[in-house]
């Protein structure tokens, strides 16, 4: 079909922080290439738009949608399904959409407890214990706010996803590379990668990109990075006793954190072939422990104050377990 109209682009945020949108804008002058090659159909952060405008679009009329954020309420779910219908290519953009990210850690708590914490802790001034209601009558009619779901779900557990682009947020040079690829595809100069591909990433682990030296050193204690001074600038951080998530994490960021002297926290998600990110990290951390007796191993493991949060920091919602038992099942008490 020959048309003079530019292909359209959309970007939406669900349960996320907005950092992914900043990462797109952070591509500097590359954003002008987006404008030159695409019509922006829907991008609430960058321009005014209404959901009803999207609903009025023809199905499949948006060429590519970057969807960032997980699915935490029924509004997120509605827009995810709507944009899936309207888009030819749906990209789970950023760690939240791919695997839950930090908002996914809320899957460790029942939803009632989350709301209670938000509205009724010592840092919140709420003496009358007022909680939000999903429906409220006003003279003009009934108002609704979105309903929370039990747990946060990554995008691909709600709708079909074409491509994944992990990172918290995706590095700007990777975003630029993906924009370049999309433009080349439109011009017929390149083919689309196979459906389900993880794009804008490397194919290995962060350790592979990390310039620090790895020996076969074993450790007698896990420590927090602020407790070791100075951090050796050339030696593997895990071998210095700091739990570093690099061994299980996908490459693509040029090992930015380890190069800056901090441990990898795992924002690029599971490396190629890793089924459960936390399980891979359990193996990695266990491999440096220098002890053979249960008591001594337990003493070393005590150096990791929050093992579950450590190994599932970005990946809980996308893990095999998806969340804690208490979030799934209401205990009988």
């Amino acid at each position: 079909m020959i048309t003079n109209r530019k292909p359209t682009f959309a970007m939406y945020w669900a349960a996320s922080c907005g950092g992914c949108e900043i990462a797109v804008l952070n591509t500097h002058e590359k954003i002008l290439d987006v404008e030159a090659n695409f019509d922006i159909a829907f991008w609430p952060l960058a321009m005014d738009a209404k959901y009803k405008d999207v609903e009025a679009m023809e199905d499949g009329s948006i060429l590519i949608t970057f969807f960032n954020g997980g699915i935490r309420n029924d509004e997120n779910e509605h827009i995810a399904k709507l944009l899936r219908r309207k888009s030819k290519i749906l990209v789970a953009f950023g760690s939240c959409a791919c695997e839950g990210c930090i908002p996914g850690l809320a899957n460790l708590s029942p939803v009632g407890e989350i709301v209670y914490t938000a509205f009724n802790t010592i840092t919140t001034d709420n003496p009358h214990e007022i909680y939000p209601h999903t429906a409220f009558d006003v003279p003009e009619g009934e108002l609704h706010i979105p309903k929370l779901s039990k747990i946060l779900l990554p995008l691909d557990q709600v709708v079909d996803v074409d491509y994944y682009m992990p990172g918290c947020p995706p590095e700007s040079h990777q975003v630029s590379a993906v924009i370049d690829l999309a433009i080349e595809v439109i011009r017929g100069l390149a083919d689309l990668p196979p459906k389900g591909s993880v794009i804008g990433v490397g194919n290995s682990t962060v350790c592979d990109e990390c310039p620090r030296a790895r020996n076969v050193k074993l450790i007698k204690a896990f420590k927090r990075i602020q407790d070791i001074a100075p951090v050796d600038p050339t030696l593997c951080i895990l071998e210095q006793g700091v739990p570093c998530n690099g061994p299980a994490t996908r490459s693509g960021c040029n090992a930015r954190c380890p190069q800056a002297g901090a441990q990898c926290i795992g924002c690029y998600g599971p490396a190629e072939g890793v089924m459960d990110y936390g399980a891979r990290l359990i193996t990695a951390f266990s491999s440096v422990i220098d002890a053979n007796t249960p008591d001594e191993i337990e003493r070393i493991l005590d150096g990791i104050p929050d093992p579950t949060g450590q190994v599932y920091r970005f990946n809980l919602a996308g893990s095999l377990m998806k969340g804690a038992k208490s979030a799934w099942i209401k205990e009988n008490s």
């Binding site: 699915i71 029924d74 779910e77 460790l108 029942p110 939803v111 009632g112 407890e113 709301v115 209670y116 009724n120 214990e129 909680y131 939000p132 209601h133 999903t134 429906a135 706010i145 309903k147 929370l148 779901s149 039990k150 779900l153 557990q157 709600v158 089924m275 459960d276 936390g278 399980a279 891979r280 359990i282 193996t283 951390f285 266990s286 491999s287 422990i289 002890a291 053979n292 249960p294 191993i297 337990e298 493991l301 990791i304 929050d306 093992p307 579950t308 949060g309 190994v311 599932y312 893990s319 095999l320 377990m321 998806k322 969340g323 804690a324 038992k325 208490s326 979030a327 799934w328 099942i329």
Partner: protein, 167 residues
């Protein structure tokens, strides 16, 4: 808990010791609880924690990991690696709200058929006491997906929180 709950247990056994211990228990016609589905590996050091999480999230109520006694590993020291992984895995499972007793590590040599049988039976009774890990099955049933709006079992109304919050 229902009285007729039969736990589903996945057992990972080492080719050189505990699998032979199970074999010995069988050939000696020892009786033990039939709830364990054994999977043979070359070594307990092959045990990737992914296997355990996969089993628990797919409907198993407990996982038994067995290997050679410390110092007797066919591959010199791989069972120590299994021990380290097992201990860290228990911490992680606790954080996920799973009773750490649902995953058990047993050392059994090829001659210890009786020990294998008694440990298995004890473990099955322990899991029977804990009850089903119904959460794994609930997760499968719901498929992790939000169902359509008519089904309110998944979507929770904010207004119902007043009843749920701790007093």
């Amino acid at each position: 808990m229902t009285d007729n709950f039969e736990p589903t247990i996945i057992g990972f056994t080492c080719n050189w010791c505990s699998y032979r211990a199970a074999d010995l228990a069988g050939t000696a016609r020892m009786k033990y609880a039939p709830n364990v589905r054994l999977i043979r590996m070359m070594c307990s050091g092959r045990l990737d924690p992914t296997f355990v999480l996969h089993a628990l999230s797919s409907g198993a109520d407990g996982v038994m990991i067995t290997g050679c006694h410390p110092g007797e590993c066919h591959y010199i020291e791989q069972n120590y690696k299994a021990l380290r992984r097992f201990l860290l895995l228990r911490h992680v499972l606790t954080g996920l709200g799973i009773e750490p007793e649902r995953v058990k590590l047993v050392w059994a040599s090829a001659a210890e058929g009786a020990r294998f049988a008694s440990e298995t039976t004890a473990f099955v009774e322990e899991i029977r006491r804990l009850g089903p890990l119904s959460w794994g099955k609930a997760a499968i049933k719901e498929g992790g997906r939000i169902k359509d709006d008519k089904d309110s079992s998944f979507v929770i109304h904010l207004s119902s929180f007043e009843k749920e919050v701790p007093s």
